[in-house]
């Protein structure tokens, strides 16, 4: 009998440490800066355990029943903690608060466990023996946890399943104790059904963990995945490392927080310098709000109309405080009007004219997106422009995929646009290309830039327009709906590059 209780000490200790490790890892995944996250989480956890230990003195009667209650509760809360944190990350206004509340709660409950158990065991052992045994098992459990966690659990089970698994162990302890000490326990029936219910919840979660986050996916990315969501249109994945936050759509990098300013400043400011009027701006794509952030730096801009297909994207970048801090809450600005619609469809119905249009679609890596780079699209776009409007189009890498890049240029020219192709270096992307275009002649109309730019300056632009020999203009066909040649160029060139 006693050995059983001691074994539960071992299990409890393992579980306790695992929850702590899970919370720490999760915090550093989700919030970055692992040193700070780990030490504050551990601190908070240990402190809460102290609170738990303090409260243990108030339990005087029916200790075994209370212990079982406790085990079930720890199992449930610890078990669902990481799933809950992943899910809440997107929605919670202050994720940090939720995180520390959960850590505090788990810590307190775990802190109650050992004192309670020692109280139970104190009549069965000599005090000396008791302390030595309990602590021995406690520390062995901790060692076991600290070894299996990084080596086995995170790589093979993932965070969600790890916490589920240990939650199940906690509840299992409750059940074993329940069965073995049947006669000494009050409310045995009630406790048993409660334990079984918890086990069902946890096992269910364990099985469906994939739905919450595909583990395979977290392996496909360089850095830990902190958020992933399959909207009706795409798979949105955020990863976080010590250095940066990255957004991937369908596995393709959209930005790295470390250098996205280069990409977005180069996307926005040249077009703004070249457009005579700048009050009405249209963004097609760009649901991350970064392009809008750059545009809002111009007081002249009266309205930014942002048309992005995916409500999940714009919602994420509007509501999540960490992401909104990246785009300076541009999506909350009264000057920004967000429309969730298909760009082609929306253009068909649109009757407004825009001074500047930013076209920031995903790369033309498949035939569906390829349609947004065709003559049909640019002809449709023409109806949203005045003769002097300026358009800019993100056009993949002129270094990796020169044919694809020059194909965008050729396609615009075929639709009678004047163009200025240019490029810039974005470390996380490499050499990146854009095409500026206008139905009328393109000339610089402004000299001054808004304050606070980190990369783009008026002098920089002429360099950007210069293409070295390895990126020189190629002879290419224009992209039509019935040839989709751009997708083929893109696949060929990027395919080779990735081999």
């Amino acid at each position: 009998m006693e050995i059983l209780l001691l074994l539960s000490v071992f299990v409890i200790a393992t579980c306790g440490l695992i929850y702590e490790l899970v919370a720490g890892t999760l915090a550093s995944y989700l919030l970055g800066d692992s040193v700070t996250q780990f030490s504050t989480i551990i601190g908070a956890y240990l402190f809460s355990m102290g609170i738990g230990a303090y409260f243990s003195r108030f339990f005087k009667k029916d200790l075994l029943s209370w212990f079982i209650q406790l085990e079930i509760l720890v199992g449930l809360i610890g078990g669902i903690s990481s799933a809950a944190l992943f899910l809440l990350f997107e929605h919670a206004a202050s994720f940090r608060l939720v995180l520390y509340l959960l850590v505090g709660l788990t810590g307190t409950l775990v802190g109650l466990e050992l004192p309670l158990l020692m109280n139970i065991l104190k009549d069965r052992y000599e005090f000396k023996d008791l302390v030595s045994r309990v602590f021995t098992f406690d520390y062995i459990g901790a060692l076991a946890a600290s070894i299996v966690f990084p080596l086995l659990l995170v790589p093979y089970l993932g965070l969600i399943r790890t916490s589920c698994f240990f939650g199940i162990l906690n509840v299992a302890v409750a059940i074993v104790v329940l069965v073995k000490f049947k006669r000494e326990i009050k409310w045995a029936r009630y406790l048993k059904s409660k334990a079984v219910a918890c086990i069902i919840v946890l096992v269910g979660l364990f099985i469906w963990a994939d739905k919450i986050m595909t583990f395979a996916e977290s392996q496909a990315f360089r850095d830990p995945v902190i958020y992933s969501h399959s909207s009706s249109y795409q798979r949105i994945v955020l990863t976080h490392s010590r250095l940066d936050l990255r957004l991937y759509l369908n596995g393709n990098l959209q930005f790295s927080s470390a250098d996205e300013y280069r990409y977005h400043e180069a996307l926005i400011h040249p077009a703004m310098l070249y457009s005579p009027k700048r009050s009405q701006v249209l963004i097609l794509g760009g649901g991350d709000g970064m392009a809008a952030r750059e545009l809002l730096k111009y007081p002249e801009v009266e309205q930014v109309t942002l048309v992005d297909l995916d409500p999940a994207m714009t919602k994420l970048f509007r509501q999540n405080s960490m992401l909104a801090s990246l785009n300076d809450s541009s999506l909350l600005s009264p000057r920004v009007h967000v429309i969730n619609a298909d760009a082609f469809q929306w253009l068909k119905e649109n009757e407004k004219h825009f001074d500047v249009v930013i076209v920031d679609f995903p790369d033309p890596g498949n035939y569906a997106v390829g349609k947004l780079y065709t003559t049909a699209f640019y002809r449709k776009l023409r109806h949203a422009l005045t003769d002097s409007s300026v358009v800019v189009i993100q056009s993949t890498s002129p270094y990796v995929a020169p044919k694809a890049f020059w194909c965008v240029n050729a396609t615009l020219q075929e639709c009678n646009y004047q163009t200025i192709p240019y490029h810039t270096y974005v470390p996380s992307f490499g050499e990146w290309g854009y095409v500026m275009a206008s139905p009328g002649p393109l000339a610089k109309h402004h000299d001054s830039l808004p304050a606070g730019l980190r990369y783009f300056a008026t002098g920089t632009f002429s360099q950007m327009c210069d293409f070295t020999a390895d990126m020189q203009q190629r002879k290419v066909l224009a992209n039509h709906l019935n040839n989709q040649i751009l997708v083929q160029y893109f696949e060929d060139e990027w395919g080779k590059y990735q081999e």
Binding site: V196, I199, I200, V203, S232, Y233, L309, D342, A343, F344, Q345, Y367, A368, V369, K371, L372, T374, T375, A376, F377, R379, H480, L481, N482, N483, Q484, V487
Partner: protein, 528 residues
């Protein structure tokens, strides 16, 4: 734990049990198609004397592509006092279309190849419909980009993989490759070839093709016989040609004449400023797009649900007797002249002394529009507009979503499955097809597609089945150059004009269009 495991076992047993019961039960289905009932009524019923008699200048019987074209021609000639009678609740005939909340889809005809540049009337029609937007400096037509079939166009499921294009390429021998090359080169030559009368050997409309015996003789062989004669033995090439014949004529190379089989390739000389000659025009609703354009010229003159059962030509007028399904009345239209835009097996029953010659053979067809959650991915080349199965019973399916511009797909998608019913002779196939219940068709279609897309049955929701008992005229051996077809071109009556694609021996929109214009032209000449 035990409880949970027990739970899952019972659930999976339950599922297995359901599956055994009927794995197609979740798929709703119905059969529509040319109203066999109305047809039989026309054939079998004795109608009394008409209740109502009305007068007009001209009547067009049949509102398929040919009848609608004739109406357009009359309209453009300033000839406005005419009526068009159609037995179905809608005009369009074999080029009709349907739709559901997710997509429009064709019930029959699906596409128009890039027209030959000397077919000016057809180019004018396309310009009028906004499909052709202008001409480039070299005089080549520019087509509206959104009406051209979007890339990627075609793929073939062969050796358990999808390959790009329909000509077999995956895992074929050098010998076969050579044969295919030789065949396609020959077709290229024949495309340019002209007969001693300086007409193209193979042209569209068929009527413009050369009369040179050198080429006409090809009609005396089946395509299969000709292939043997020309030493084309490769299984893959023969399959491909069999597929082409089934696609255009509803019957394979053992039935179709070599002339018609070659016509499929050599008659197409289309050119465009912004498309290859091999490309085509298509829309989610298929040739329903062309029908919708044509309909405007006779909208207020069209009476649907009207079964014409007798034509009585007299010296100065024609009596057109019909049964109006909507009002259950027998009516008569008295006109100066009429156009029979109905197939010959019907026309010959309506005119006095008419004899339906069984040389006019029609291929029965099944077209099924399948609504499903998604088209499953499978190995090899990606989803295309046309998705064909090597050595399949069916021709595979066309993806209605291909011509969408938007990124988002509808919640469910529609594919159009084509099955020429050529496993029996046409009469037997027709009987078989009519006898089969929708549930049987569902099983047949689902099982066929399972071979290329395992699990697709589960994704299906609804199948809209159309059976075309007399879908396409069949250019069997000797038909195109034969006397029967020649004799059928002209009616024995001065004030009755024939217009149906079957007169060409080849069932395509261009032929229906040709005959519609020709008959309407002759009618306006006659009426002065």
């Amino acid at each position: 734990m035990a409880i949970i495991a027990g739970g899952t076992i019972t659930v999976s047993q339950y599922v297995a049990c359901m599956e055994k019961k009927d794995k197609y039960a979740h798929i709703s289905s119905r059969i529509s198609g040319a109203s066999a009932k109305a047809g039989h009524m026309m054939r079998d019923q004795q109608f009394g004397t008409p209740d109502i008699t009305e007068y007009t200048d001209a009547v067009i019987v049949g509102g398929g592509a040919a009848g609608l074209t004739a109406a357009r021609h009359l309209h453009h000639s300033g000839f406005t006092n005419f009526r068009l009678l159609e037995l179905e609740p809608h005009t369009g005939g074999n080029a009709s279309s349907g739709s559901n909340q997710y997509s429009a889809y064709p019930l029959g005809a699906h596409y128009l190849p890039i027209p030959n540049t000397d077919n000016q009337p057809l180019l004018d029609l396309l310009a009028e419909a906004g499909i052709l937007t202008g001409y480039d400096p070299n005089g080549l037509p520019i087509y509206n980009e959104t009406d051209l079939c979007y890339d990627p166009e075609e793929r073939l499921y062969i050796r358990n993989r999808w390959q790009e294009g329909l000509v077999p390429q995956l895992g074929i021998s050098h010998q076969t490759q050579d044969e295919i090359r030789r065949f396609l080169e020959l077709m290229e030559q024949l495309r340019k070839a002209k007969g001693s009368d300086n007409r193209y050997a193979f042209d569209i409309p068929v009527a413009n093709s050369s009369n040179d015996a050198l080429y006409r003789e090809l009609d005396q062989l089946t395509m299969e016989e000709w292939l043997t004669q020309q030493h084309y033995h490769s299984e893959e090439l023969r399959w491909y040609l069999d597929y082409c014949c089934r696609d255009d004529y509803g019957a394979g190379i053992s039935t179709i004449s070599a002339w018609a089989g070659i016509h499929y390739f050599a008659s197409r000389k289309g050119k465009a400023a912004n498309a290859d000659s091999s490309q085509l025009l298509t829309w989610p609703q298929g040739n329903g797009r062309l029908v919708q354009h044509l309909q405007q010229f006779s909208r207020d003159k069209t009476q649907t649900g009207c079964v014409v059962y007798k034509i009585t030509p007299e010296t100065k007028q024609v009596l057109v007797d019909y049964y109006d399904i909507n009002t259950h009345q027998i009516k008569r239209l008295v006109a100066k002249a009429c156009i029979m835009a109905t197939p010959q097996f019907i026309t010959q029953r309506l005119i006095p002394g008419g004899q339906y010659d069984h040389a006019f053979v029609y291929s029965p067809w099944l077209v099924a529009n399948i609504t499903l959650d998604q088209i499953p991915e499978s190995s090899g080349y990606q989803l295309c507009w046309d998705n064909v199965i090597y050595q399949g019973k069916s021709l595979g399916y066309v993806n209605a979503q291909q011509q969408r511009l938007t990124q988002q797909l509808p919640a469910k998608q529609v594919i159009t499955y084509y099955l020429p019913l050529d496993h029996l002779d046409p009469v037997a196939s027709r009987k078989y097809a009519i006898a089969l219940s929708p549930q049987h068709w569902v099983k047949l279609i689902a099982d066929d597609l399972e071979a290329v897309h395992p699990g697709i049955t589960e994704l299906m929701h609804d199948i809209d089945i159309t059976v075309w008992g007399h879908g396409m005229i069949r250019p069997h051996k000797g038909f195109i150059t034969g006397d029967v077809r020649a004799a059928a071109q002209k009616s024995p009556f001065a004030n009755v004009f024939y217009a149906h694609s079957d007169l060409s021996g080849i069932s395509i929109f261009e032929e229906a269009f040709y005959h519609g214009n020709k008959a309407a032209g002759a009618l306006t000449d006659y009426c002065g």
